[in-house]
Every structure is written in structure tokens, then in C-alpha cells.
Symmetry: C2
């Protein structure tokens, strides 16, 4: 791991690292926030739990770190935050031929691609679960308690990775997630290219399908703004709510009047998400 | 005034506006945060005081609004925040011939230029004091209680505009301000071009000179990181402290161990600045 940058913030540290990813066959960048207690400021350092944050279309490792306003609460609670990039990057990595914002670079959709030319590099699911998590646990003063969150495409990522790995993550939260990608334009475009035409193979990355078949129910918190331009066509939280009711999966969906798809919305409620995860991350300690 | 954008945040509103500036002879953009109480959410609206935030080199109206994490405290306290752009903009506005970051566009230094070709457009001092303040007081549900703050070049701006107008502003604060521009490379370059070679004319925009000659002492709070790359060469808070001691001007300078020149630093202490201003903005109500 190469350390690219470091900033002191709220008594803790924000830093960027890069490292080679076998899953994505390229150098990947991620950012981490370590709260003061993990740095041993003022007393002996303690291992802290980690919240993984997955960002949305067009984002990289920095959007959340610079705009969410999460560090005050994370520093107080003693929670580390890790924010990976949203796709593989580099000269060898193919992009959407039209450089569209919703596919290719910045749009990895947190899955393992099976179709050429995407399958060489676009394996964000394996990267997050099998490289980033163990790498963070090895390299930083953290413990194994992990939660996952994200926004929009990253909310989809948090839901699918969390639902598929309920023994790895204590809890899932999301802002404005793509809840039913097999049923919206963003998801259909990405899944067709990454996974091919057989829509049966898409279901393993669809939150509605995974929730319906979940054997273990870990807590889920979702916040969604009512003035979000993408609400009806792309995000479709009502589809997830319907499945949750049918499956007796208790999840909390807060519809927030007047809020949009921006980081202004995320910053308004990120503290509540941190408190939500904290009760699970510190349970039984 | 044209409304360019609007986002709900912490129950209040962040919005961008543009309007023609007579002082700068161009269209100017600014951003405003209005706390819930100024919008009348839940009860009758109340006029709120305003904190003016001046940003640093290369910034525009959005840096503070997106990265400072100020809205939680501002919403609770009931303080509006106004963040103007850092210079005139537009095709007619001249820039540094080398497009350097420290002069021309994005580097107005909050003064009135006297030298061609800058004097036509670069009149940020008049713009802030005589157009933005009255315009905001006319157009939004605010009262006349105003405070001023900023970072780096904007910290210089807050100090000089506040010190020159102690009856307009209740209080001044700054992060990492340029404290003695006549004595550092950034200031000397800008003042030579904007004001000419006669260094006597520079003193009206130098915080050390103004503090030394201040007839009315309004409260000043400064935060400065010890790991700031610009501390010794450009910012020089010790020069301001020396003048304050000689002049018996009580100001607070917090040297913050390990912090740098970034918004990670600002976000860590912006709440303290808001509380500092609140005690003055709400005094006597």
C-alpha cells in the first residue's frame, strides 16, 4: 500500500492509499478516516470498527470524505470509515464508448463482470469483499466489526454486498439507493454490458431479489429524499418495501420531504446513519 | 437576482444566485444558507443574522458550502451564511497572463484595484460591502446583524473588511488568514498589480496595519494549523499577534497542532467559529 495523502481532521486522520488489486487487475485508490482513539491520542490506541462507504455514479474515493460531514460523529463514536473508488481505473481499463456517466469508469456497480471486455477489470464485488476488507483489517488498527453504507449506485452496492454477506456486516444503510436495478434503466444498461443478456444472472446483484431470499435479517436503514430527480425511474424504494413486507424483513425507510440526490441531503442525516451502525458495531463489546 | 440552484439541507435551504454587480461590472454568483427558522418551518419565520464567508485562492461560492460542514450548527443556532465568489468572472475580465492561481481570476484579494486593466472589474471590497450586504438584507429574511469570516486569502478579506467596518460587523474570525500581505509573496504580487508600486497605498488592505490603527476593537478569533505549508512564508500570524500585543487588541489565535491548510481543518473547528459569532450576533436581542 502506498500512502498518497494525509490530513488531520477532528483529531483523527483522513488518508488516501493506493494498492494493486488482483481482482480488478489495476491500481486501486481508497480513502480511510481513523478516529482519534485508533491513533492512540491521549491514551493507548484501541482497535475500532469500520463503516465501508460506497459512492455513486461518477464519484471516486473523495466525494464522501470531502462533502458528507461524517467525521465529527465518527470521531466521537470511534468508528473508522473506508471509502473505495467506484470502479477500476487506468489506461488499460475500458470505458463506455460514449463516455456516458452511467457505465464504465466511475460506474462499476459493485459486481463481477462476466462479459468481454469488462470481465478483466470490472470485479468490484470481489475487490470490496475479498481484497479491501482483509487489506484494511491487516493494515490499520481496526477490528473485524464492519458495517456498510452508500449512496445511489453505492446504496445498491451496500444493499447487495451486505445482504449477500450477513455474517460479515452487522448492518446496512443507504441514501437514495438503486433498489431494483434489474427494473430500471441504469441497472439494465450496466447489467446487460457487464453480465450479458441472461437476466437470471442479474438477480444475484438485485437488492429486491436478495432481500426476498435473505436467510439472515440484519438491520437496514434507508433515507430517501422526496425531491430526488431519480426517485421514480431509477431508485424505486417502494419495490424494496413491497418485498420486505412480503418477506417479513423489518427495514426502516425514511422518506425525507424536500431533499434531493445531493450531498446536502447526505450531510443532513449521516449522523443518524452513524448512530444506527454504532449500536450494532459496538453490540456485545 | 436570478436563482441558479436550491437544495434542502439540515431543514434549511442552500441556494445559489447571480446578479449584476456595478462595482465589478460583471455578473456575480453567491451562495446562501438559510436556517429553518428563516424559512418559517414549523412556526412564523424570524429574521436571522448573517455570517459572511470569504473563500481563498482558486475558490468560488461553493467550496465552503460543500465542504465545511457548517450547516448543522448554523441550522441549530439560526444563522444564515453567505459565500460570495472570490473574484469577478467573465470573458471581459482579465486574468493573470500565466493563469497563475494566486492572481487574477479566483484571486480578487477583497480590495478595489486602482491599476489598469484590473480596476474596471476587480473591486471586491466595494462589491462585498456596498452591494452584497445591502442586497442580501433586501432580498432575504435576515436582520442587520452581520459577522465575517474566511480562509487564507478570504481570512485576509475577513480581517480587513471587518477591521475597516467595525460598526457593520459584530465579530471577525478566520482560518489560516494571510495576516500581513504587504510582507509576503502572495500579497506583494497581487498588490503590485492591483494597486501599483506605491506601497503606502497597500496599507489600507493589510490586517496588521489596520489592527494597529483600529479605533474600535471588535472580537477576533483565528485558527491556524501548525502543519500548514503556507504558515511561515505567506500567512505569518505571529506578525498579527505582535501588533495586537503592542496595540492592546485582544484577539484569540488558536494554533492547532498537526492541522493543514485544507477544508478538513476548517470542518474540524467551524462549529467553534459559529458559536463564537453567535454570542455577538445574538447579543442584546
Amino acid at each position: 500500500m502506498k500512502k498518497l495523502s494525509s490530513n488531520k481532521v477532528f483529531g483523527g486522520e483522513h488518508a488516501q492509499y493506493s494498492h494493486y488489486s488482483d481482482a480488478n487487475k489495476c491500481e486501486m485508490t481508497f480513502a480511510i478516516f481513523l478516529p482519534p482513539i485508533a491513533l492512540g491520542k491521549g491514551k493507548e490506541a484501541q482497535r475500532v470498527p469500520v463503516l465501508y462507504w460506497l459512492s455513486g455514479l461518477t464519484c471516486n474515493d473523495q466525494n464522501f470524505m470531502q462533502k458528507a460531514g461524517a467525521f465529527r460523529a465518527a470521531a466521537e463514536l470511534g468508528i473508522a470509515i473506508v471509502s473505495p473508488d467506484t470502479s477500476p481505473r487506468g489506461e488499460d481499463v475500458p470505458d463506455d464508448p460514449d463516455s456516458a456517466y452511467d457505465f464504465g469508469l466511475g460506474a462499476g456497480f459493485y459486481l463481477n463482470a462476466t462479459q468481454a471486455p469488462w470481465s478483466t477489470h470490472f470485479n468490484m464485488y470481489d475487490y470490496i469483499l475479498n481484497e479491501l476488507l482483509p487489506g484494511v483489517q491487516q493494515s490499520f488498527f481496526v477490528n473485524k466489526n464492519s458495517a456498510i453504507s452508500g449512496q445511489s449506485m453505492g446504496g445498491h452496492g451496500a444493499l447487495i454486498i451486505g445482504l449477500k454477506n450477513p455474517d460479515v456486516f452487522t448492518s446496512i444503510s443507504a441514501f437514495s439507493p438503486i433498489c431494483n436495478p434489474v427494473n430500471c434503466a441504469w441497472g439494465q444498461k450496466a447489467f446487460t454490458h457487464y453480465l450479458g443478456d441472461d437476466q437470471q444472472t442479474w438477480l444475484q446483484y438485485d437488492a429486491c431479489h436478495l432481500l426476498q431470499n435473505a436467510s439472515k435479517h440484519i438491520p437496514i436503514l434507508i433515507d430517501q429524499g422526496t425531491d430526488d430527480n431519480f426517485l421514480e425511474d431509477q431508485l424505486q424504494p417502494n419495490n424494496l418495501i413491497k418485498v420486505a413486507q412480503m418477506s417479513d424483513y423489518h427495514l426502516t425507510l425514511n422518506m425525507r420531504s424536500g431533499y434531493d440526490h445531493s450531498y446536502f441531503f447526505i450531510s443532513s442525516f449521516i449522523d443518524e446513519h452513524l448512530y444506527f451502525h454504532a449500536t450494532r458495531l459496538f453490540a456485545g463489546e
